[in-house]
Symmetry: D2
Subunit: 473 residues, 4 copies
């Protein structure tokens, strides 16, 4: 294997929009590859031995050893997690069932780099059922569910991933997916752009046979647009991140559920009768407000934009200055909740962040000598003022919905279905249809995807029949 | 007065998007000027004498006779209606109070052509308090509230309007606003474009002194864009119709209230426990569904667009084929509810239209010999099938929210405030700021307007203080 | 006819619980017989001639003249109102259809004294379809819908009632129902006890053939208990007023709808974004709060009982001192809203009463010289303070839901179905089952009734089938 | 210590209402003392060593050894849990603060036997702050939070309890609370009646100095009524179980939150768009339905009682036969969900129990050879039909809200406050006020308690001031 060397080659990747760079200069993997992705990893047993997977010799029950994971023995537990996820991914399962006969991905050799979770496993097994061969690495060094990786390996997938990879491990795993004798990928499914970057830098000739890239993340899409702008993109790419489904559904409907879930799991607080201030009445704020109001909380809003403020009024929310008993943050700006506000909050106030980044709460201002921090549970700190007042800070001000609650599988299933359809589209499209450019998923395909989701929700049987969409492809 | 003649001059007005032209070729006023505008006129006493106002000699209590209305004696009743409206237009009243000192419209001579309703009266009296002189005609031959016109005349406004004008009356009234000795308008407030059209055709030289046009309606805006495209627009114009406030608030929040109001006033139906099918889950449908669900109806949705369908799912609505007990139509397509569906509806099903035009329900298909129509109340028909089944058709399939319920004054107050601010902006803008073009209201001004509305809602006191907007202008 | 004389005979009726007696001593009809019953009469044409119906000679189209009403020519209009009501009374219509064959009331001669409204007409025509003969008078001198009375007369019913009876007319009408040759009633359906009282005093021997009394009102039931206590009740009586259906459904579900309806019809106010104080969080208050919250109002509660207060908290309502923009009263105490509070209310505050009596708002305290009253619409007064502040008082502080909104027919249909079943039960019961006493409707019969209502709501088809109630009787 | 012997003495305890006796005859502790109390114990570290606490010698940091618990070293962790609980028990904390000066329990020697949880710890420390001395044992052999017991021991309380006691341990612990030299209890706080029973049988003379018993559980109250009936109750007892607060709030408001919490923690299911059947529309069902509807589920109801069914209709729920995607059980009957229904459910259907006992789902019928059970997570089983269909069964059909979600501390705080007030009342009452009988908490005291809760909810400040309750005692 060639020595990994790319520090000088990746200028165009340096301009990506990261609010606070927590990486030292010597680190080179993308930021998203190191962010902790809480919930997905929450069922992972932490008591495993400390031998590096790279030093282990493991085989699955059929004798296959073309993988590298933590512990093949966890396969059964992982299979259970996958089965749970399948229940909540009806559209993908229906796609699997429906397209199994025609195998639209027959001949596809997909190399993937995403979070290795139960939901991804359902996607991979669907791709496989549609005819594809897959090799997979993790796009984040912390987020792999080891037992799911085990189940995939047991099922014959070449998976190279474990929870707690080092940076060197990270690139090693990616390389092992790509650099294998007798197998050359013709499709890329990426989340963050690291896999694409790697192939670009190490095996550029591979792109001759690659029919397209499907990219999921903001960061990865940004990288692709830069490549495209620089004239260096040599295959068509599909931007799945900006599809309307993600924007429309992830924020409002996920947050409506995860605000309740996250608060319950961390604090067991009763919602009924609590006074809550939600900072910001955008999509995330709307979801949080709707859920808390429905549970009997008394919800106040702060909002700068008058249009959103008027919407809040018409939905029955009033405005608040000061901090009340339970405090939820949902906006995307920096330092919305500053020390001064927290100084004025009442004893017992819970402060948490449902925003987009980790900078909404000025946590740094709480790290001063006169305040005492007490860790009372995992993800829960009491910050204690000199007069004894306690503020309950969740997840140290990081995103509650990623740190302390699960992302509903159902929502992920929309994304996964979109990815599968994007792969099918790129793989089967006539050569002329897509140029060497970044494409938004065509509205028609998004509709197809959502239509498919609706038809398979249980509630949507009528929907399908009404519209008369008999054949999907 | 010159004879009215313009048949040959108005080609560019013929392309406006009217779905079904119900006018004979000899008619020349805009379509919107003849549509019945139900609720606004609902309190008008119909027992007036039949003498044409043009043949009457009337003076107000101060001896002023520069107006032409139905009956000056109704002024007191009209004043009451205006006072009721003032209660629901806090932003406009606050603007009146706040800007009274600086009189930003001092010197403005505004000629207006809008629905003459209590809400318009509040606008006119505000413009007057800000320093403007006003002359006003009706933009619709049916919609004038005679008693409000009387109150305006009594208050010294030169109003030329009454309910039930002929087409000749219509143009005569407009002409009387414009063509008056010793008074030349410098601002136009129009709704439908007929006033603008009239000045264009009859007194084009007036535009030399006119600083701008504020236009409210789809039709009028369309006309302005055509003029602009043809290079014939000679003053700046402000398109108030497409402002975000209208799109965002009118549909969702108005319909949420008017669906309940319209159904109650026509049928006294109990909502709790009723099964309702709402056709279409756009903004209007969302408002209808939310209201009916909250009142305990069991709501089903039909929807073609999968994105909206998925939103409906996530909000807890399921899909239906067939017609259930109470039927609400909200989409904007033609013939959504066809005869076949109505043949399959249950006895007693109520069918009504909350859409954008009057073509959603195929009413024509019900005008067949085998079906009997019975008018059971104003705006309520029973259509009776041969087997005795009755369908309850509201407003003969026309828009329920215009025909059978009032438009909440509060929502109109947002539009009226926007109009007032647009007039102030155009009147006071440095010459260079606006060219001879059609402008969308600047986002900043919209925000100002909405901010002002929120601050004066009662609920928004905190909002104003939080944001620190101390001075508005 | 004997001269009417009963001043000395009615001691036991004098103790009935009337909060404020507004009747002179010379008046002798029950209080409920003079209270205005707003909505029911709202469609009555007031332009009729002034001849007393007692002086008119009228026949229906079949030559029958055994009735006394305002104007037989209004029959068609009345028929329409009855048809509208039928749509909302599915349980009663189903009972009519189902029991038509077996005619469980064959031979019954029912004399009735209730409000003569479209809903009553549906009940009477059902009783007739089940085999009964009916003669009917009004229980209230104002509440008769003349056109409905006309339709009943046209249909062959002996109805004696019109809107605006004098007291002498009132008793004359009742007497004409009872005192007719060749017809002797064997069942009584009463609302208020006046009919029962009349027979008791004038024709006591009639009770020998009477099988039972069904009584609807609080007052009437009170009178019956007094008779029973005094040992003077000589037939079984059924107390329909205290049935669980009335207590459980009327308050919560009716008020949830009528608070919105009443406010819209009187003030056209927009609910979204309004601040509302609801005084009292009992069943009525719960209904009002739920509806206003759902429409986007910001709702505050005042409440004395801590249990209800805690329920309000858990439902997300907070407590308020002072009067906010829109003010709703729902409690049953005297003088909840006193002058002092109204002095502190903001300009434009709407004050209305959803309580049980008419004493919740201290209206008397507003009838002072420094305050000006302006009647701005029917049922709407502006009370103006010296500084110009206006309070909007609805229905002069009387019950909004009776004065300014309709009672949903559907809810009345539950009562009417209960009455019909009570009549059937009393008429067909074995002699020994009911003694000379007042009976609550047996729980089993209430269940039957409600079950029947649910099964015929459209939504309840499954309900019926699930429970396997195949035969109803 | 005398040998424990009571098999012959406890006849009157044998009649207590246990639905299914799962105990062998040789067991003698009350049923409630062995039921697993899931959530309370969920944070207990299970990795402790296996030495019996009775064999350990432990001292707290001040040298005190008068306790017997699992591990004094867990005190810090326990203190954190107590601090978390304090945040949600504002009424109790306010009572502690307010009554600290007057020490209404000065001289009280309370022996208690309840679940040893963080909430109980807050109660005990409050009693201590009010002047009482306490000795405490666990009322359930599984429910003790060891770390909380440690914190209490570290704080100087004589606690005798650990998770996983044997039956002998159980009685030994109780005995150690009572049978101590130089200390004789004068108040009893019991949950289940085992403590009371023990004193009765072993140390009857102690009752001479005991001022009263406060009992929390159904079982314990039942025992007290039996004693009272038999004339054997020799002190006054307060029945806290049947207080209105418990009945009114626990079911509706707790279940509204715990249905969501329990489903999320076990299955991570997304609620939006799911079809749910809730069996039974009593208080529990109402809470479940409200929560699920608010989260966007499509909710169907089954219900036998027509009154509840009509309420469901008016709230917008329809009825369902068959099993849809997500299935929730809430009724209190046996075998509501039978095998036949489960045979007809769709693949992936989740079945859980929110009822009152553990018999609603016929789990026994699923333990047949043709069905395969797979444990996929703690408390989550997949039951697999021969055709591959999976039903997801939660908590093996036991109560979801006890097994898989936490009981909100806030609700427990109402009970704890009631207990404290009951102790104060009994301890301070004039001798004549309470006889040797079982008393319901006086309505006035319940109101006081709830009032106190409301005033300290954060949202209730206004409430307190409005009502003018300045002094509480």
């Amino acid at each position: 294997m060639k020595k990994i060397q790319f520090a000088d080659q990746k200028q165009e990747f340096n301009k990506r929009p990261t609010k606070i760079s927590r990486r030292s200069l010597s680190r080179s993997i993308s930021q998203s590859s190191t962010d902790s992705y809480g919930s997905a990893a929450s069922y992972t047993d932490s008591s495993d031995d400390e031998t590096s997977p790279r030093d282990k010799q493991q085989k699955n029950s059929k004798g296959n050893a073309d993988f590298c994971i933590k512990n093949i023995k966890q396969a059964d537990f992982g299979r259970r997690e996958i089965e749970i996820a399948e229940q909540e991914m009806p559209a993908l399962m229906a796609l699997r069932k429906r397209a199994q006969g025609e195998k639209p991905l027959a001949g596809a050799k997909i190399v993937g780099c995403t979070h290795i979770t139960a939901q991804t496993a359902v996607l991979m097994e669907t791709l496989s059922a549609l005819g594809a061969q897959c090799r997979w690495a993790a796009c984040n060094i912390y987020s792999t569910q080891n037992e799911v990786a085990a189940a995939l390996a047991e099922g014959g997938f070449s998976v190279f991933a474990w929870k707690g990879e080092s940076e060197d491990d990270f690139w090693w795993c990616i390389d092992r997916c790509v650099n294998v004798e007798g197998w050359q990928p013709n499709m890329i499914l990426d989340d963050g752009g690291d896999l694409t970057h790697w192939i670009y830098k190490k095996y550029p000739s591979m792109f001759k046979k690659i029919k397209g890239i499907v990219e999921e993340s903001v960061t990865g899409v940004h990288r692709l647009y830069q490549l495209s702008k620089a004239g260096k993109l040599c295959v068509p790419a599909m931007n799945v991140n900006d599809s309307v489904t993600k924007q429309k559904f992830d924020n409002l409907y996920c947050c409506r559920e995860s605000i309740l879930d996250g608060l319950k799991r961390t604090t067991d607080v009763m919602f009924g009768g609590k006074q809550v201030v939600v900072c910001g009445y955008g999509e995330v704020g709307k979801g949080c407000c709707a859920a808390l109001k429905a549970m009997g909380s008394i919800v106040y809003v702060t909002e700068i934009d008058p249009i959103c403020a008027l919407q809040a009024c018409f939905q029955g929310f009033s405005f608040a200055f000061i901090s009340l008993l339970l405090y939820v943050v949902s906006v995307g700006n920096k330092n919305v909740v500053v020390r001064e506000y927290m100084d004025r909050m009442k004893n017992g106030c819970i402060v948490c962040n449902m925003g987009h980044s980790n900078t909404e709460i000025d946590v740094a201002s709480l790290r001063t000598p006169e305040l005492t921090w007490e860790r009372v549970r995992s993800q829960v700190d009491h910050v204690i003022w000199p007069d004894g007042k306690r503020i309950v800070l969740l997840a140290e001000g990081r995103l509650l919905n990623l740190s302390c609650s699960t992302v509903p599988t159902f929502v992920l299933s929309i994304t996964a279905t979109t990815q599968a359809l994007a792969l099918i589209e790129l793989y089967n499209a006539p050569e002329a249809r897509y140029k060497q450019d970044v494409y938004l998923l065509p509205k028609k395909m998004v509709s197809k995807c959502v239509f498919f989701v609706v038809c398979n929700m249980g509630v949507g049987q009528n929907y399908g029949r009404v519209q008369g969409f008999e054949s999907f492809f």
